[in-house]
Amino acid sequence: MRLFLPLVITFICGIVMILHFFIPHRPISTIGDGLTDWYMIVASAAIFLGAANLVQVHVHRINTKARNWKYSPVVLIGFIAMMATGLLWGVEETLPFDYMFQTMIVPMGATMFSLLAFFVASAAFRAFRASNWRATLLLASAFIVMLGRVPIGGMIWKQIPIISEWMMQVPNMAGQRAVMIGAALGVVATSLRMIFGIERSYLGGAD
């Protein structure tokens, strides 16, 4: 019984969004447009839950002197600093909130992103120890495409960039299309199971 109302809401919202795609007439269009805005608002409201959890977890770690608890104040100070500056002075450019974002969060994000250069090299190095012929094919095609995208590839053999481009346009497209079509059918089946209440574990109830 406790799941009945949520399942009805899931069903109605799901069906309205599907109909909204095909029926431009009111009231479907109005309800569909409204629902698209509303669910974004509801999902955004949930961020306070996460923030509360973050604070709760780190305060608990400090209180219980858990492992690495000395870094929990760093989390809390960073969090409170951004919240305070944003709420007190606003988010416009040149204000403290924006300054901290530009000088600290942006470089840290870019640094984490740039770690990929090292990780992609280590992943490629490990993958070169190919265990079967298909794995060999994977790294052979990776190698050819990589070479084709740098000047040295053309200097080794002028056909490499052409072959590289062909591999991206033909077999790559074929493989990607097969994965996309299969995944799309998976999405359709999963969505139908959600909408019709066949899959309901996300509500925390019995299956």
Binding site: I47, M108, G182, M194, I198
Partner: protein, 381 residues
């Protein structure tokens, strides 16, 4: 009826007209496939006459006078007038203005906004959607009858129990990473379903389960799902809410936090199931470096190669969505899997028929028309 046809002819003639001034031709028509109340104007201008400062769009008011509704640049263009009454005929003209003086108005055109019940550019998709959804739902119903359905072996899913068992033996936790998107993303929903199965295994084996999340709603759902799994296994006391935490909404902040957790807590088994973007390789490589057995699964085509390179098992695309049926062996879910296969068969037949039709169309026109029809069916606006 007698008066209707001439009136219709007049409206159609008035919908397009041409003139001799700066504004050469003007067309007015109902904006198609919307919820009504809008008329679109399209016009061309003379390349020979002096260019005015702007063109004013005028609409005839009920009293017969012309009223200004908008200004546009003095080039060929389009304009949409909205918040009109459906079924009412509106008349428009475009007037060029130069240095505050109106020039010769363009031709008067008329149209009437209408509302459509069905989007005309999506009829083919509607047919296919109904067919595919019907197939899948029928197979789900058939599955309820409990017929034993064969499902081929998926290595990554067979390894779930072994991975959790390994973690128990080594006395190290299991880590489950449900991707970085929110609960409105289908991959995340599929991941939550798999989390329930993995949590059940972890509860049975007595392994601790860490679930760092990137979204608050996903954290809430994960807590519910894992708690329910522990309850169903009869181990409610072993459930630890503090192991399921929210880190941050930031993509790379999350990656940094999870990396830190991996190197400090050293999980023996890591599941990366859901939507991932560039952080996928950061997480997978770090997991590899701590010696964990890794099972990944995503439908993000751009990230699959990285998971294949860095993880022990990878669920590719549709295999992620098949996981819940595969692990639970629940008849309806297995039926849904069979329905997906039947839908795939329909799509393969469409492709083969279309290709054969397009190929034979060079010599035999009806075959070409088959290919055209199939392209129409699959074309969506």
């Amino acid at each position: 009826m007698k008066a209707f046809l001439p009136a219709l002819l007049l409206v159609l003639m008035a919908a397009t007209a041409s003139g001799g001034g700066f504004v050469l031709t003007t067309e007015a028509s109902d904006v198609p496939d919307d919820d009504g109340g809008r008329i679109g104007l399209v016009w061309t201008v003379s390349p020979d006459l002096p260019v005015p400062d702007s063109i004013v769009v005028e609409r005839m008011a009920p009293g017969g006078e012309w009223e200004h509704v908008g200004s546009v640049a003095p080039i060929d263009g389009r304009y949409t007038d909205s918040e009109l009454e459906n079924g009412t005929v509106y008349s428009y003209r475009l007037v060029p203005w130069l240095q505050g003086v109106p020039g010769e108005p363009g031709p008067v055109v008329s149209a009437s906004p209408a509302v459509k019940w069905l989007h005309s550019g999506r009829i083919g998709m509607l047919v296919i959607t109904v067919v595919l959804c019907t197939i899948i739902l029928l197979y789900i119903e058939a599955g309820k009858r409990g017929k034993d359905l064969f499902v081929r072996r998926i290595a990554g899913l067979n390894a779930v129990e072994d991975a959790v068992g390994r973690a128990t033996e080594m006395g190290r936790p299991v880590m489950y990473i449900p991707g970085i998107m929110d609960m409105d993303d289908i991959q995340t929903i599929a991941s939550m379903v798999i989390l329930g199965r993995v949590a059940r295994k972890a509860a049975e084996y007595g392994s601790s389960l860490l679930v760092p999340t990137c979204r608050s709603v996903v954290m809430s759902v994960s807590q519910e799902v894992v708690k329910e799994a522990y309850l169903q296994t009869g181990r409610p006391d072993a459930f630890r809410r503090e192991d399921i935490t929210y880190l941050t909404d930031d993509q790379f902040g999350y990656a940094a936090g999870v990396d830190g957790m991996m190197v400090r807590q050293r999980p023996a088994a890591i599941f990366l199931l859901g939507t991932f973007y560039a952080e996928s390789l950061i997480l997978a490589e770090t997991g590899k470096s701590v010696g964990a057995i890794q099972i990944a699964g995503t439908a993000m085509v751009s990230q699959i190669p990285f998971f294949i390179a860095a993880c022990d098992y990878t669920l590719i695309g549709e295999e992620l969505y098949a996981a819940s049926a595969y692990l639970s062996r629940e008849p309806r879910l297995l039926g849904s899997l069979k329905g997906q296969d039947a839908a795939k068969l329909v799509i393969m037949i469409l492709i083969v028929l279309g290709v054969l039709g397009a190929t034979a169309g060079h010599w035999w026109e009806p075959a070409g028309r088959v290919a055209e029809f199939l392209r129409f069916l699959t074309h969506v606006e």
